[in-house]
Symmetry: C2
Subunit: 437 residues, 2 copies
């Protein structure tokens, strides 16, 4: 097969891939940039499987700046550029027991948000009960709740600048803008089998590259042939290890299965009431809400008049080396036995409600819960967003572009500057994140 | 099958497993401790595949203290207890080019060794050539050497308190001492299939543990049945992910294949001369030597009148999720094409010498090149020594024991105290190591 050559090949047309493609092409208009994905369209894999909520309520200044600037860019896209993202400021509501609220990590989180100017508000139990009459804030005497180790909702930590959006629309924005300026038509249905690792210079010895040779990733070997580029960008999320490990680059990330189950309000007036909870936001809807126990959360879905129910699996849910096909299959028993009992205890409105839809995907976990953007031996990696890639996509795309151009700093939306090596492995300079879902 | 119950099950009878078993039993004489291994004897897997060199010449104070106290214990075992370890103070000799020697990381390494009282000596090129007449220190005009990017040996960094030992003897020491005090006969040929993860308390619900239940590792499921213990110690090295990932504990480690090739001096007088190099140590032998380029190193093997040749593979040698069977198979082409050309350039005595033996195993890589010792949900993990588990075994066994007993500090050999959580993931307090082979 003939070999084609590009300046940059970007593997993965999820939200991080399209944002990176857009910013690299924008700032290097002469470069030939090929965007490829194994799926048949952009944003169809884990980006589409996400809960697609966005928040600036992080404990680390690193994640705060990545999300805050990205969210402001999303508002700009929707309000100034007129590209509808269905970005709705529902707010985020963390429900916490008194002991959780008093934890050092939670106090530090609030202090750091205050220091960074991230707006938040604290509700007490009485206020919560007034705002959400259907919320069960008293488990006293409930033996089942005790058996389930459920913590009571004593406090609500609310961030009004947070919300939800349509990830497909966001991908579409970057992808359409990229298509306007790229010299190379993006290609879909192209599966990268491995990175092409070659000796520099090539001596054409059998078995090279040998240990005494300098080496570099010079392209990708795909099911449609070999393609070469000076830089290969990997925006492959939970698939990164499969490509990086064989060349000896440790991505530091692992995959974890996450699932979402959709409940529609339908003819259940209590669920309509819950969805239409007033007092938190201008939309007059319930915020994206995290329950105090078991990692269960839900987001409102206003167009569908429903809720997406998720769970931040911790100990007990396996890590996987790479994403498996099995990760794409939601488990109805998991909803029934793990999520539903918790959900229905806090919000009896959900009693007897059954999912009308569900999906699952791969969550790309980083050990410090901060994403990675680094370049090593011809590969530029953008991943490890620990379930919050959408809300950091704009900042990560700009940082990847700055790194590509060899710029010491990246300018984020709004004019803030950060070191382009801040998210690398070798020169990492981040605050460890404690607030992930 | 019937289920047996112990206080502690230790999985893996490599050097870290036997040292940990010994110290836990020594300090908790009443506990029932079962040591198991999939192999048919202790120390037969990666411990036996190691180059078994020991050094205190690390750049991090963390690795310095782990190795320095362990090496002093090994001397005590050999000299005071009379258990022959074939611990020979050959010394370690790092050969470096001028530009390598001037690197900030190398200067910092020397500063830190000085600060910690680690003895070392610097030789210049002239002194090296006098001590090792067979060493090629001048590649000028050698086009092949230039093509191979070989750096000249301008400096030698020598540590006289370092050496080599017989790993089988070291394992035997801990294993025999453990057998004297354990209540339970160690079992071999027992393969752990998975960790037993259970809800606490068990409610006997279908599919438990569910997300709202507290959970804990309560034993192991093996090919010989299920065994329960309050604490399961994993000293499984490069196999850890296979057991930890499914329960949702990220070991942070990865495996890498490493190979050793044995050259005997036989009837080659130049190799005998090289082996009998005087001036470095009381044994009158060549030290364990690391060449300036490509990661190639060799250790003298005095009993066999030969050398073990190894290579610290970097970029280009794949990481693996877990150790594979393939990792146990040495590649003769790798010796021929990668290691030999480098070796023969620096030391022409090796020209035309061919390996008489070879083996390969799994190197358990930690991202900061510092080992892990931590307890999480019923599992106590001891691993990630990045190729230097043998030389840290005594300290790691003592730290694991202190952590098991809930002691805030571990007392290392010689009386030094360190935090027992220093090597954990959550409360990690270490210096990043820059000097690994």
């Amino acid at each position: 097969m003939s070999e084609e050559t590009f300046d940059v090949i970007i593997v993965g047309a999820g939200v991080l891939g399209v944002a990176t493609a857009y910013y690299i092409q924008l700032n290097s208009p002469e470069k030939k940039i090929l965007l490829i994905d194994r799926n048949l369209a952009a944003g169809q894999a884990n980006t589409a499987m996400s809960a697609a909520a966005v928040r600036n309520m992080f404990a680390s200044s690193t994640n705060q700046i990545l999300t805050d600037t990205s969210i402001k860019y999303f508002e700009y896209v929707q309000n100034e550029l007129g590209h509808e993202l269905f970005f709705e400021k529902t707010g985020y509501l963390w429900l916490l027991s008194e002991s959780q609220f008093k934890q050092e990590s939670v106090q530090l989180w609030m202090q750091r948000m205050k220091a960074s100017g991230v707006h938040y508000k604290v509700y007490n139990k009485k206020e919560l009960k007034e705002l959400i009459p259907g919320l069960n804030v008293d488990f006293s005497g409930d033996e089942e709740a005790e058996l389930m180790h459920l913590q009571e909702a004593d406090f609500g930590l609310f961030g009004g600048d947070c919300g939800v959006l349509d990830p497909t629309r966001l991908v579409e924005h970057y992808f359409e803008e990229f298509k306007k300026i790229t010299h190379v038509k993006p290609r879909f249905g192209v599966c990268v089998k491995k990175l092409l690792l070659e000796a520099v210079p090539k001596l054409d010895l059998p078995g090279e590259p040998h240990v005494w040779q300098q080496k570099k990733v010079t392209g990708v070997i795909t099911d449609k042939g070999t393609m070469r580029a000076k830089t290969v960008v990997l925006a492959t999320g939970a698939w990164a290890n499969e490509l990086l490990d064989p060349v000896g680059i440790d991505s530091m990330t692992k995959a974890k299965k996450r699932q979402l189950f959709v409940i529609h309000a339908e003819d259940n007036p209590k669920l309509h009431d819950l969805l239409d909870t007033k007092g938190f936001n201008e939309l007059g809807c319930i915020p994206f809400t995290i329950l105090p126990s078991a990692g269960v959360y839900f987001r409102p879905q206003l167009q569908e008049r429903g809720f997406w129910i998720g769970c931040g699996d911790k100990f007990g849910r396996g890590y996987e080396y790479i994403q498996t096909d099995d990760m794409m299959v939601p488990e109805s028993a998991y909803y029934e036995n793990s999520m539903y009992p918790v959900l229905a205890k806090y919000l009896p409105a959900f009693e007897s409600a059954r999912p009308v839809n569900s999906w699952a995907g791969g969550y790309c976990y980083s050990p410090d819960r901060i994403p990675f953007v680094y370049e090593e031996c011809g590969v530029l990696v953008v991943n490890g967003a620990s379930g919050s890639g959408i809300m950091k996509a704009d900042a990560l795309g700009r940082i990847a572009d700055a790194l590509y151009r060899g710029e010491p700093e990246a300018e984020l939306f709004g004019g803030k500057h950060v070191s382009s090596k801040m998210l690398s492995i070798k020169d990492r300079n981040v605050e460890i994140e404690s607030v992930v879902i």
